[in-house]
């Protein structure tokens, strides 16, 4: 079964060797932390290396596989949108490492709150191929039951989810578990009051939450420089929240940073802010026209820092690359994409009367009256009487 290959919480990556983890993040250098260069060279960063010592060639290959799969289905979804099968799709092209590296560091009992772009995270949490397209096809407002995969419905209101993650984390602490909540948001979101208030609450309550900012350089057409004059990671320390700034195109660095933050949270040391410096290689969504604002050389510079290519280079350099395994991975990715496409085609339009469901747990007389009036109205078209 395909599912088992991509289910969340696989032992290979969820293990955090906590004995080696520092209780506060390593001091910050100016450049983002990088463990794997774009050329596929493994750089040493002792504080980070320690927490990913278990990521051997096999595990690294698994992360590679994840990234290939998510890029594959992301491309498929864009194609589905172009064919009119989806209303919209927000591509994650270029952000595979940031999403996979962080999501694969989580435990199944952790809880994830994201924006709309984190389909790779959803995949890592165990969302089924068809689950990823429901919202974008417009057949439902959620792709999955949040409790079944430990991940909330994608949030469209920029930044709102940061507070939900913080509240959830406060709840984890109250319940006495060592589960952690993680909030994914973009560079643009850092301008929002909600994200600030989330950080205020998290710091005040020492909540076991991770603020994971994918700085992909753009908020639709606005460059990150419009939102922030300094790295966004610089905002957290002044609030008493330690921060890390990592190369978001480096899956290993991202995983290391996330594990450090998770470990802090599990120990009761409170929130951590991670800035993953990456790049949105595609349009904001399939409705967007980036030619209006993206400088092609700029995009080319970032293309050279591709998150997937560098892992392939590293594996090759280590002699851990196998063409056969690569073909298997491609086949897995294709199968996932095919399942997504078929699932998409197969998604039925919702029953019109489902409009009225789930507004309340116990419905209201006003709503029920509207429901029955509408049912009677619809019945007229099918020859019914009112």
């Amino acid at each position: 079964m395909l599912r088992s290959d991509v289910s969340p919480g696989r032992a290979r990556s969820s293990k955090t060797p906590s004995s080696k983890t520092p209780s506060s993040p390593p001091p910050r250098a100016d450049d983002p932390v990088q463990l794997v260069t774009p050329d596929g060279v493994r750089r040493e960063e002792p504080a980070y290396d320690a927490v990913v010592a278990d990521v051997d060639d096999e595990r690294l290959t698994a992360l590679y596989e994840d990234m290939v799969v998510v890029r594959r289905f992301d491309t498929e979804a864009v194609a589905l949108q172009r064919q009119g099968q989806l209303g919209l799709w927000p591509p994650l092209l270029g952000q595979e490492a940031a999403q996979v590296g962080s999501a694969r560091a989580l435990r199944a009992d952790d809880f994830v709150f994201t924006s709309y772009r984190e389909n790779a995270v959803a995949y890592c949490r165990g969302a089924r191929p068809v689950d990823l397209v429901r919202v974008w096809r417009g057949t439902a407002l959620t792709g999955w039951d949040p409790r079944s995969i430990g991940m909330a419905t994608p949030q469209v209101m920029v930044g709102a989810q940061s507070l939900h993650a913080t509240g959830y984390a406060v709840g984890c602490a109250k319940a006495g578990t060592d589960s952690v909540a993680i909030a994914y948001f973009g560079d643009g979101a850092t301008s929002k009051g909600d994200v600030h208030e989330a950080m205020v609450f998290a710091a005040s309550l020492a909540a076991p939450v991770i603020f994971f900012c994918q700085n992909n350089q753009w908020a639709i057409s606005e460059p990150v420089g419009l939102q922030a004059q300094r790295p966004v990671a610089d905002r957290a320390p002044g609030m008493g929240i330690p921060s890390m700034r990592v190369d978001g195109n480096d899956v290993l660095a991202v995983m290391a940073a996330t594990r450090i933050a998770l470990d802090r949270a599990r120990r009761g040391d409170g929130p951590t802010f991670i800035e993953a410096v990456t790049y949105r290689m595609g349009p904001h969504t399939t409705s967007d026209d980036p030619t209006r604002y993206v400088d092609p050389p700029d995009a080319a510079r970032w293309a050279a820092k591709d998150p997937i290519a560098r892992v392939e280079r590293l594996l090759r350099a280590r002699g851990a690359w196998s063409d056969e395994r690569a073909r298997e991975i491609t086949a897995t990715a294709d199968a996932f994409a095919a399942e997504m496409r078929e699932g998409c085609y197969g998604l039925p339009d919702p029953d019109p009367m489902s409009l009225f469901d789930h507004v309340f747990v116990e419905s209201s007389p006003t709503l029920e009256r509207q429901r029955s009036e509408h049912a009677a109205y619809l019945a007229m078209f099918t020859g019914g009487e009112r």
């Binding site: 809880f111 407002l141 039951d145 949040p146 909330a152 939900h164 909600d194 006003t366």
Partner: protein, 335 residues
Amino acid sequence: MTTMTMVGALNSGLRRALDDDDTVVLLGEDIGRLGGVFRVTDGLQRDFGPDRVMDAPLAEAGMMGLAVGLAYRGFRPVVEIQFDGFVYPALDQLVTQVARVHYRTGGAVRMPVTVRVPFGGGIGAVEHHSESPEAYFAHTPGLRVVTCANPQDAHTMIRQAIACDDPVVLLEPKRRYWVKGEVDEDLGDPLPLGRARVVVPGSDVTLAAYGPLVVTARDAALAAQDEGLSIEVVDLRSLSPVDLDTLEASVRKTGRLVVTHEAQRSGGLGAEIAASIVERCFDVLKAAPLRVTGFDVPYPAAKVEDHFLPDLDRLLDAVDQVMGRASSLTGWRAS
């Protein structure tokens, strides 16, 4: 039965809820050591600890968003907004999140969030401390909106609101906070959260009121009796959904309706009630329903608020109008 102020009745309701259910947590500005600016949470942090009764940083959107996350994690958060005017920063999270998560998730995630908002004017306060924002909530699908007019209802409603699996906004009429009444903490078989109550039976005119103006409406009914006029006063209690069945029954009897609220007239609850009752009772209505409300101006300076707020005289004037009688107003004043 114990005699309590509305503040005391809310406090004891919260205490019961905290006692009955470990997942109930209170969140608000100054609700801990201070006991809230109105002392509604007095003593609760002392008795249940800062983990259950949490002073929140000064950020209303933050509180409301935190409640979403807590509810996601299985808690029943009760958020105190310090004054009506300060609910606006929280409205985004309330409207786009609290009210929608259950719908958005196809019923998978419930939002048993209670939002307590002391509301209404008449206390001589400065700006943003006397408002009636209920229409914003009532137009928001997914929220239940209720308000209490006496200590017993305050006590009952806060417990029902917390026990309810849907988000509930409880509007507490702050100028009635210190009015005393008998409270039975053994709820027995209470009126459901969504139901209105006929508080004065009558036959000539239905007067629908809620929150702070229920007392005013009763006084008006009493005063009208001397003139041989029989006013039926309905305490709406629930503002979303409005218990239109109870109201319809009353109007079918009286044929006339006056609705009153402190909130500004245009787009207020009165419009919804008048429109709905006309839809249901057009055949029996003897006059157009009238609204006695705050005017379409921002809440004014304290020294003119008495002119903004509906009072007994304005209610009786409207009753005269729907009765098609010459005004008896000068008479009321003279007596």
